[in-house]
């Protein structure tokens, strides 16, 4: 384990209802990395995230976060779950939702403290949602709601931010706001994002892993056409992936990183 590695998975296996979801996974995430996790639906991306968070436990293998088991380091992780939210009509304001990130701090036994409130408000300012603090969460657009969830994760003052499909089913404008936020945040913290979003993969990510039961790692932006070929389950529309990537891929995927896929 190198000194700068914050997340380390070795020989990790996970199965659910007798079906192997992840097998023999090895992964290492360095400090200040921006790691994109790609792969087909049902390939185990979200499972990988939940294993790192300690929500799920591996059947076999070792997971270390900051040199400890996940449950001991979870307070240093900020989690932005996938927005498959059934609870949209829930009576909660933007500010109260962001405050949930302050849960579990030893100083606030039964009430949030003043500093909790300040931290939550700062987190909302970071994602440019402070002006919506008194709005009900159900009245927001998908992109705005996603920013509130990022603020909730930031309110826990994490060292690593883990996001699950943060730009899925959000309009283009909303997506760009999130790219900008993530870019700025990456200057201070490690980011791990499950995403099919080509703008994240090609424009922001520093490295990419492909998860489909097994995990392949390589550095971005060297996304080979083979890798894109593995992105089953996402629609690229009428755009030809090779054309989109242009010369960049043509030149570089013959290098070392490209070889592991042949």
């Amino acid at each position: 384990m190198s000194n700068t590695s914050e997340i380390e998975l070795k020989d990790v296996w996970f199965s659910y209802n007798g079906e192997t979801v992840l097998k023999d996974v090895a992964l290492s995430v360095e400090r200040n990395d921006f790691l994109a996790v790609i792969g087909p639906n049902g390939g185990g991306k979200t499972t990988l995230l939940k294993l790192i968070l300690g929500i799920l436990k591996p059947n076999k293998g070792a997971i270390q976060v900051f040199g400890n088991e996940p449950s001991k380091s979870v307070h240093r992780l900020g989690y932005v779950p996938q927005d498959t939210f059934f609870n949209r009509e829930f009576p909660i304001t933007v500010f109260d939702a962001a405050l949930l990130g302050r849960l579990g701090h030893p100083k606030n036994f039964w009430r949030y403290t003043k500093s909790d409130r300040e931290t939550a408000l700062r987190a909302l300012e970071t994602v440019d949602m402070a002006g919506f603090r008194d709005r009900r969460i159900g009245s927001l657009s998908g992109g705005q709601r996603q920013r509130v969830f990022i603020a909730r994760a930031l309110a826990s003052e994490p060292d690593i931010l883990l996001l699950d499909e943060p730009t899925a089913s959000i309009d283009i404008e909303g997506q760009h706001k999130i790219y900008d936020i993530l870019k700025i945040l990456n200057e201070q913290m490690t980011i791990l994002v499950v995403s099919h979003d080509l703008n994240i993969l090609l424009g922001i990510a520093k490295s990419v892993v492909h998860v489909n039961t097994t995990v392949y790692s390589h550095n971005a932006p060297i996304v080979s056409s083979e890798v894109l070929g593995r992105l089953t389950g996402i629609s690229l529309g009428h755009i030809c992936p090779v054309e989109l990537l242009g010369e960049q891929t043509d030149h570089e995927h013959h290098g070392e990183n490209g070889k592991q896929f042949q």
């Binding site: 609870n87 829930f90 909660i92 949930l100 579990g104 039964w110």
Partner: protein, 285 residues
């Protein structure tokens, strides 16, 4: 109404109604936002088993119902904790089993002429002093517990997985909600009867949810609305000499449909394209 308050039983009924409204508003809010309405329905109906058992054993019926519904709540909790949203058939079975058990117990009980109607539709006009103290204690426990556990309850209700991640003891809290709602349900049986408990737990909550910006406000508004329904229902019951439980629920349901209609109209006026928009959003998702 004023002259009616000269009667002791009417004063007791009013106090009982107000005390139970408070419990219903707070617990009803938790039950609704946690999607536990069906669970509380199951607890309410299987409480009948406890009433039957109490007659058989010769103990106070509401004590029997209370202990029995706590027992059912624990069973439901154990069976549903791993899969909260797919447990309706188990609850449905317990719902029926509890009622059947109650009827068999009453069949086996010595003597005759148990007034079952009062448990099915409530008997607020016959509330004894001891029940008022019990309701008062229950209110105190509920308010104190909700204030202390508020942020954890909110986190659990809004996003259970995230709450667990941040160290909230979600399982313990889930069991606490189940048990306290079981006791509230039994108290509410006094006012409107076990068949109508669900209405008093959910209708005020539904109305207040429309204009509440937080779970806390929803609890307060629900309690107030519930108290209004109970008082109006009691007054109608007195003025027209009809069953109090039924008239309370009729008031509540009428208000419910009026609010539902007004809310639909308001939504249409404010944003005529909203329904189209939301259906296209569903397609995108």
């Amino acid at each position: 109404m004023i002259e009616a308050l000269h009667y002791d039983f009417m004063q007791n009924a009013l106090i009982a109604g107000l005390l139970i409204s408070l419990a219903c508003g707070v617990i009803g809010s938790l039950v609704v936002v946690n999607r536990m309405v069906f669970i509380s329905g199951g607890i309410a109906h299987s409480a009948y088993g406890g009433i039957g058992l109490a007659f058989l054993l010769g103990i106070p019926p509401l004590l029997g119902a209370g202990l029995f519904s706590l027992f059912i709540a624990l069973i439901i909790g154990i069976l549903t904790i791993t899969n909260k949203y797919r447990s309706d058939s188990i609850i449905g079975a317990l719902w029926a089993a509890g009622m059947a058990f109650g009827i068999i117990c009453i069949d086996l009980s010595p003597g005759y002429g148990v007034d079952l109607m009062s448990y099915l539709f409530g008997s607020i006009l016959a509330v004894p002093h001891s029940d008022l103290w019990f309701a008062f204690t229950l209110d105190c426990v509920i308010i104190l517990g909700t204030v202390i556990l508020y942020k954890d309850l909110l986190a659990l209700s809004y996003d259970e997985e995230y709450a667990a991640l941040r160290g909230v003891k979600v399982r313990l809290l889930y069991f606490i909600i189940l048990c306290i709602s079981a006791i509230t349900v039994v108290m509410t049986i006094r006012v409107v009867g076990l068949i109508l408990v669900i209405a008093l737990l959910t209708i005020p909550t539904y109305i207040s949810e429309i204009f509440s910006r937080s779970l806390g406000r929803m609890m307060v508004y629900s309690s107030i609305i519930s108290a209004l329904f109970t008082c109006t229902g009691l007054w109608i019951s007195y003025a027209f000499n009809i069953t109090s439980g039924a008239s309370i629920i009729m008031v509540a349901t009428l208000a419910f449909f009026v609010v539902l209609g007004l809310n639909k109209l308001r939504g249409k006026r404010r944003n005529p394209s909203k329904s189209v928009e939301s259906s296209s959003n569903n397609l995108n998702a």
